[in-house]
């Protein structure tokens, strides 16, 4: 009923910036969908186009069964939470939450009641008479959510709602948001530039770059099998090691070492061709002593990740990062060896993942298929 279907949706700003470039995408009903990408890639533009705050320059947009491409924002039945929450500073929490109802001409008594109920659900019952300036960031965020929920929209749009919170609160808010969306079951599009947030929250993720979607898939698809080096370097709380390599008959030569060819692309590589060997720091196993088929280097930086350490080695293959258990002693200047987990290594040719079959971007088949349902 409230799926969002974009068909060749395009947005060109007056200055000529092509912020959305023929986006084909379907967000399923009830799905928690994350838009991820670097600054300026068009995430906000896409969200605003769905909300109707920007008029599309081409293509069409449907929410549920209705074509809303030309519908003004107030009639699209969507609610948006802005990065700065956009709480009205002169209204109390109760008034803020009730505002959409006021616009919809709900009688005063009824809307006060409803606003109080919604705010109550989000644990704001004690703050109804405060003004936004008197609330902490996390509370403000909940007010913004309550306001978005108050008029039971068919779609939630969140533009980086967590980025204003401090690190600690962000974690709590994220869990809260996830649980809330599960309970309400409202289709949700969530913009972020923090990949950890996207991975943690989303049912599916679209990774964007300069107005286009570079990969579409579930968090684990995107995390485990980034469709291209762009996505690979973008996803993961520690960036993936992307190392230049040359295909040899018995493996892939990286920085002078021969590493075993991963199973998937195995049959699809040509001897002597240049590829990029991708392996996440989490999938490199540390060894203090030389091991054949491993990457090596001198320990340059050790960063504490809490229960583990991120070690940066500098060696013939360049910088290589790997995650080492907290109990393993690693000292600066030591020589270290990193053994790749074969089943997790990926190979990119011309920036694209070399795969066994189906399109890893999830774009052609996936999007079309879901679009057709």
């Amino acid at each position: 009923m409230a799926a969002i279907t974009m068909d060749r949706l395009t947005k060109v700003y007056p200055g000529g910036v092509r912020a959305l470039d023929e986006i084909d995408l379907t967000v399923e009903d009830g799905e928690f969908f994350a838009l991820l990408g670097p600054s300026g890639c068009g995430k906000t533009t896409l969200l605003r186009t769905i909300a109707g705050l920007e008029e599309s320059s081409g293509g069409s947009l449907r929410i549920g069964d209705v074509d809303v491409t030309r519908t003004p924002p107030g009639s699209r039945d969507v609610a948006m939470v802005f990065q700065d929450y956009a709480l009205f500073p002169h209204m109390t929490v109760a008034e803020n939450v009730a505002y959409p109802l006021r616009i919809k001409k709900v009688a005063r008594g009824k809307r006060t009641e409803k606003a109080a109920a919604t705010a109550g659900e989000l644990g704001l019952a004690d703050y109804l008479e405060r003004r936004p300036g008197q609330l902490s960031g996390g509370q403000q965020q909940r007010v913004a959510l309550a306001r978005a929920m108050a008029c039971h929209p068919r779609v939630f749009l969140f533009d980086e709602p967590l980025s204003n919170l401090d690190a600690r609160m962000r974690l709590e808010a994220r869990t809260f948001l996830k649980r809330l969306q599960r309970e309400l079951g409202v289709t949700t599009v969530f913009v972020t530039h923090d990949q950890a947030e996207a991975l943690a929250l989303a049912d599916r993720i679209a990774v964007m770059e300069s107005g286009r979607i570079r990969q579409l898939g579930t968090p684990s698809e995107v995390f485990r099998r980034p469709a291209n080096t762009f996505v690979a370097s973008f996803i993961g709380s520690t960036p993936m090691n992307l190392l230049d390599g040359v295909v040899r008959s018995r493996g892939i030569e990286v920085g002078g070492e021969l590493l075993p060819t991963p199973p998937e692309p195995a049959g699809r590589l040509v001897d002597g061709e240049k590829v990029v060997y991708g392996i996440r720091p989490e999938y490199l196993v540390h060894s203090p002593t030389a091991v054949p088929g491993s990457l090596t280097g001198e320990v340059r930086v050790v960063e504490n990740l809490g229960h583990a350490q991120l070690v940066t080695l500098e060696g013939p293959a360049g910088f290589v990062q790997l995650v080492v258990d907290e109990d393993t002693p690693v000292a600066l200047g030591d020589r270290g060896f990193a053994v790749p987990r074969q089943d997790r290594a990926l190979v990119y040719r011309d920036g694209e993942l070399v795969t066994a079959g189906a399109d890893p971007t999830g774009l052609t088949a996936g999007a079309r298929a879901t679009g057709a349902t």
């Binding site: 700003y13 007056p14 109707g52 920007e54 008029e55 003004p72 924002p73 009639s75 616009i103 001409k105």
Partner: protein, 311 residues
């Protein structure tokens, strides 16, 4: 009002106006918002102003034959004004007045107060601001009396205070007196504007300069001024225009002694009201407008330079 009919129509042009049109106003509705103000402005400002420009081309007078039969005399009035010592005298005086009281006086004093009070809260700041603002909002006819009493030659508060009995400030230092008077009267606007502007200077910038060892003057020069240049220019533009058109000193000195404070608005008042030469007065008003225009252009030029510089 929120009925579904008409909405898609209204929404369509709204979007096209670009990202800054956050409320989806659209040009048509925007025009509707502007219309009431424009109507009043056109009727009671534009129209009389154009009429005045026309009057400036005639020999129209309030009374006498020229009132019954005004003749279009072309640029004669302008010719006369430009050759008139009184005009050039009043122009020079006006420039002194604007420069002294607005550009140097109000702007500098207003800035000084805003700067020194920027981190203060509480009674001191409120008192200072209230007093300064009071001078700004009291009616001119009242404050001129206050100043006449202050500067009076026998028994005036100032003479009593400075122990300079018998000094006739308004006669001996007429220009200085009205300049100081106007500083007193108008510093509030600059103070408020600069207080707001200083609020926009990030403390971290000032602190970076302090950490590098910069003194107050260096902080002002390197951090504050570049940051509030736009405000400085808005402020100068408005207070210059206002001071240029300020008639209040007339109430204090009546343009005297010996026309030594006959600034342009006073000159026009005398021409138009005391001599009834409305055509000539209108022509001088237009000249005054042109001088204002030049000042505005100079300011805007500076503004544009700033824009280029920060681009």
């Amino acid at each position: 009002m929120n009925g579904s009919k008409g909405r898609p129509l209204a929404g369509a042009p709204a979007g096209r106006t670009g990202g800054s049109d956050a409320a989806g106003l659209g040009r048509r509705r925007a025009a509707g918002f502007v219309a009431p103000a424009m109507l009043l402005i056109v009727a009671f400002l534009l129209f009389p102003a154009l009429w005045t420009v026309y009057l400036g081309l005639t020999d129209y007078q309030l009374t006498g034959f020229a009132a019954a039969n005004p003749q279009v005399v072309g640029l004669e009035n302008y010719d006369r004004a430009l050759g008139d010592d009184r005009f050039s005298n009043s122009l020079v005086l006006t420039l002194q007045f604007v420069l002294g009281s607005a550009v140097l006086g109000q702007a500098v004093l207003g800035f000084a107060i805003a700067w020194l009070m920027r981190n203060r809260v509480g009674a001191l700041r409120r008192t200072v601001e209230a007093l300064v603002l009071l001078a700004w909002i009291l009616p001119s006819s009242v404050i001129t009396f206050l100043w006449i009493a202050l500067l009076d030659r026998d028994g005036g508060t100032l003479n009593a205070l400075l122990n300079t009995p018998g000094t006739a400030w308004l006669l001996e230092y007429p220009m200085a007196s009205i300049i100081v008077f106007n500083i007193w009267k108008g510093a509030a606007f600059s103070m408020m504007l600069y207080a707001a502007a200083l609020g926009n200077v990030p403390p971290s910038h000032l602190e970076t300069a302090r950490l590098a060892g910069a003194g107050t003057f260096q902080q002002l020069r390197d951090v504050v001024f570049p940051r509030i240049k736009g405000h400085v220019l808005t402020n100068l533009l408005l207070i210059s225009l206002w001071t240029f058109n300020d008639f209040t000193p007339f109430l204090l000195t009546a343009g005297g002694p010996e026309n030594r404070t006959e600034i342009m608005p006073v000159f026009i008042y005398r021409i138009a009201l005391e001599s009834g030469e409305l055509g000539f007065g209108a022509a001088i008003s237009v000249l005054m407008l042109l001088i204002n225009l030049v000042i505005a252009l100079v300011y805007m030029r500076l503004l544009r330079q700033r824009k280029d510089a920060s681009a």
